[in-house]
């Protein structure tokens, strides 16, 4: 087994009475684009800062590239950080900002020139070497911060919401560029954001945190379609959840009695016992609407519809299932507000979440 790029083992971090991170175990593989997502205050930034060495874990151990980082100061760690505020040195120009780490590492003059040149080219800032940070746009500053970190060839690059200060269009462009960059340099990226879309579009794997606890780790597809908790289900997208009870287990599927609907089957995590109270998750794009008649127990009323270009969001009210959201392709006729529709979903698209999970209050 290869060494993990980052190995977090039973880490806890307290600030006085506040527990920012509790009992965290995470393993980031070499060369991986790994993201940690969660709402503000969930402990994701604290985790990143502990990897960088700006905070010391109250308990537990962090290793980078197989080496224990306990007691190792930030300037001795084989990691580099891209800060949310970029933290570019205002009194130094672009070249000197990028060269900062190399000068600290006592790299020779000629090599500094070559490597800074490469890094500046990598982030497409040729010709701006002598500009001061304040003369650059937000996107350019962001790229300088990236070059300044990558030029040191860190084992792991830590990114703390690096796109947070950019406008939407630029952010989308930068997401593509970041992903390409990571593939081309092959450095392990550890990326923190509160934006699940951003994390999904770039990452190989995603960790979801809430209240200092790790909720789930997995590929974006796993996180989205097979969430481990209702918190994850809601955090990464719109979720329709129906109450139900497991009444049979067969291979990797469950049969479940959905309240107000009846017997269905659904996928779910291993180990759910018969009789477990569950929530049945159906994503809005998997909820089908039919305008012609139907059995009365599935009837829902359209509350309103919103046109979003490529798709259309339909809010529904069902006497049995409550408030629901469905999305449909933008083309075709939209169901009118007030009209009654028949709801359906295919069993392959349903996923079970244990109802008594820890993120439920």
């Amino acid at each position: 087994m290869t060494e993990a790029a980052v190995d977090i083992n039973g880490v806890e971090k307290r600030f006085g009475d506040l527990v920012a991170v509790r009992n965290l175990d995470l393993r980031v593989e070499p060369g991986e684009f790994f993201s940690i997502i969660g709402p503000s205050g969930c402990g994701k930034t604290t985790t990143l800062r502990m990897i960088a060495g700006f905070e010391d874990p109250t308990a537990g151990r962090i290793s980078v590239g197989g080496r224990d980082m306990t007691g190792v100061r930030p300037y001795r760690r084989p990691v580099n950080t891209v800060f949310q505020s970029y933290a570019l040195f205002p009194h130094l120009d672009v070249f000197e900002n990028v060269a900062f780490g190399l000068r600290e590492a006592k790299v020779g003059k000629a090599e500094i020139r070559t490597r800074v040149g490469e890094a500046v080219t990598l982030v497409q800032l040729q010709g701006r070497e002598r500009s001061r940070p304040r003369q650059l746009s937000g996107g350019q500053q962001q790229r300088v911060a990236l070059a300044r970190a990558l030029v040191n060839r860190p084992e792991v690059l830590l990114l703390d919401e690096p796109l947070g200060a950019l406008d939407l269009k630029l952010r989308t462009d930068m997401q593509t560029q970041l992903k390409d960059l990571q593939r081309s340099v092959g450095v392990t990226f550890c990326y923190v954001t509160h934006d699940q879309g951003e994390a999904f579009s770039m990452s190989d794997r995603v960790a979801v945190m809430n209240h200092g606890l790790l909720e789930q780790v997995g590929t974006p597809e796993e996180i989205y379609h097979r969430p481990a908790s209702s918190f994850v289900a809601d955090f990464v997208g719109t979720a329709n959840r129906f109450a139900g009870t497991v009444d049979g287990v067969e291979a990797d599927r469950y049969s479940v009695a959905v309240d107000g609907v009846g017997p269905r089957t659904a996928g779910g995590p291993a180990g759910l016992a018969v009789g477990t109270t569950v929530q049945v998750l159906v994503r809005p794009e998997n909820l089908q609407l039919e305008t012609d008649g139907g059995s009365a127990d599935r009837d829902a009323t359209v509350v309103d519809t919103a046109f979003l270009g490529a798709e259309r969001t339909v809010r529904l009210h069902s006497p049995k299932l409550g408030e629901l959201t469905a999305t449909a392709r933008g083309s075709g006729k939209a169901p009118e507000a007030g009209s009654r529709v028949r709801l359906s979903w295919s069993d392959e698209d349903a996923w079970l979440i244990p109802a008594a999970d820890r993120s439920q209050p």
């Binding site: 930030p74 580099n80 040195f89």
Partner: protein, 276 residues
Amino acid sequence: MNVRRHPFAAGLSLLVLLFLWLPLIGVAVNSFNRQTIMAGWGGFTTHWYGLALHDQNVRTGLETTLEIAVASALLSLAIAVSGALWWRRASPRARAVYDGLIYARIILPEVVSATALFFLFLKIHFTLGLTAIVIGHTVWNSAYAAIIVQARMAGLDPALEEAAADLGATPWRTFRRVTFAALLPAIIAAGLLAFTFSFDDVVTSVFLQGASNTPLPVVILGMIRFRITPEINAIGLLVMLFTVTLMSIAVLIYATAGSLGRSGRRGNMLDIYRGR
């Protein structure tokens, strides 16, 4: 009706300006006046400058003043910078006390702090002299320096120092390459300001000089008590030009230093000329 446009206000302003500037213009003009009693214009001469520059009292006074001013400026900077570094990590309560002490040193009349130090030094048998004057000047000089340095420190993004550490800089290297570099304009400005304040001080110097050499402003005071000669005008003009130049440099450095870190992309005039 606009009060500012009222003839009375304009007249009063003019009077005040004349009152402030006429004596200074008089000093400048008379320093080149051949007539010793300065009753009228007796023709142009630079004789008084020669006299002033060769006056042993004046030369010793200038040397003494320079020694005091440099020492006091450096001491004030050391106090102000270390204070500002501590201030950032201090609790709000400790900060309030520290800030209060700074403003107290500025508000307190100089004659009070000078008298207090005078009695303190007598009590503890500390010999009055240059060291005593330096300490006396540093009491208020360090307060002015602290305000200037702290203002710049407040604009310093703590993430900059984390970034330096992240890039491999030890705490000492981080201080040198980031913290100190960012504070440098404020440190230079504060140093020049402290130097200037110390350079023209009379009150504290008179109280604490003891048997040591007399600083230049006190020398001048002694000379005019005795007799007013155009030589004093020459000294006055030189001192005036010197301090005004220093203050202008201080203000210029501080004003063009640019913002730090997080806020804004305010360019300066030079950037526009460079076509960026």
